[in-house]
Amino acid sequence: MTTSAKSDADAVASDAAYYLMEPLTKVLKEMAISAGWPTDIVESLYIDFDGERISVAYPQNKSAEIMDLEYGRGQQLPNSVIRSFIYRSDKVVKDVMLSRTADALFDLEEVF
């Protein structure tokens, strides 16, 4: 199989990113539960991948409440989940990326 290095790299990265969504969503929800965020908010959180970037996502109608929880509002102190998740998710990202990148490279090169 012959492809350009760039398209191979893109395909490998996209494949790995796709497999990140589920484990990262699980970690994000666990952190939100630990922080005491309301159940409906916890359920609305997920990790999205649009083909180029991975991001924390939630429905637009929950945005104001989530931002108030994350950054605080008046007497309500910040109860950060999203920023903490970003700081702490690197291990999951590394594990999945390493695993999936190796698999995807083998697939591309038709090793097996």
């Binding site: 931002m67 950054y71 605080g72 509002r73 008046g74 007497q75 309500q76 102190l77 910040p78 950060s80 920023r83 903490s84 700081y87 702490r88 690197d90």
Partner: protein
């Protein structure tokens, strides 16, 4: 134990770093901006706008810059006064990132912009540094500091006088730190003695040590 330790040292250094800011308005040309840990409770103190709050939002193990090995020095990394020819030998401290939210709260847009300008100067996206004294108070270390996020959080809130606007800037600031040898030693104590009860009858099939 002299001085302030891990986290408390950074808290105080950050609060000190934010002191001395002033804004102006039609009533006061040099209104000083107070700094609080957390939003001031109106039952405890008067809220005088504008003000700045500091919230510790996370302490993250900095595995990417953790080293392993031993240090030798004569003041236990600035925590114990040097005495005679004593030399301390200890493991390299545990690396952490301490993450703060620094928030400005103002009623007037001009004061909000002035605070935004001052805060972005104090916390630049690159090359920021926070002066933190060591526990002995004999030296100052400059910690690298990063502006990881900036969010405008303007809104309208219920106040004693009804609904009033509040203009806020929330900065996410990361300060690099290390848990000093004494705390690290306490956090990860080595097993010094293993006590074995020779009088206990072992379960069937096992031989006494």
């Amino acid at each position: 134990m002299p001085g302030n330790q891990f986290i408390i040292a950074e808290d105080l250094a950050l609060k000190g770093y934010l002191q001395g800011m002033e804004v102006s308005d039609e009533k006061d040309s040099t209104r000083s901006v107070k700094v609080w840990f957390g939003y001031p409770d109106i039952e405890v103190r008067n809220q005088e706008f504008p003000f700045i709050t500091i919230d510790l939002i996370d302490v993250v193990p900095a595995n990417d810059r953790q080293h392993q090995g031993q240090f030798y020095d004569n003041d236990f990394r600035g925590t114990i006064p040097p005495t005679g020819s004593s030399v301390y030998y200890y493991d390299i401290p545990v690396a952490y990132d301490i993450v703060y939210q620094v928030t400005s709260h103002a009623r007037h847009p001009r004061q909000d912009r002035a605070l935004m300008f001052m805060l972005l100067n104090k916390f630049p996206s690159k090359f920021g540094k926070l002066p933190v004294p060591n526990q002995l108070g004999t030296e100052i270390g400059y910690r690298s500091m990063f502006l990881d996020g900036f969010t405008k959080r303007d809104g309208v809130e219920e106040d004693t006088g009804g609904l009033r606007r509040i203009l806020r800037n929330a900065l996410t600031v990361r300060v690099i730190s290390e848990m000093s040898p004494q705390e690290a030693a306490n956090a990860f104590p080595l097993v010094a003695n293993v006590l074995i009860d020779n009088n206990t009858t072992p379960p069937p099939g096992y031989t006494p040590v």
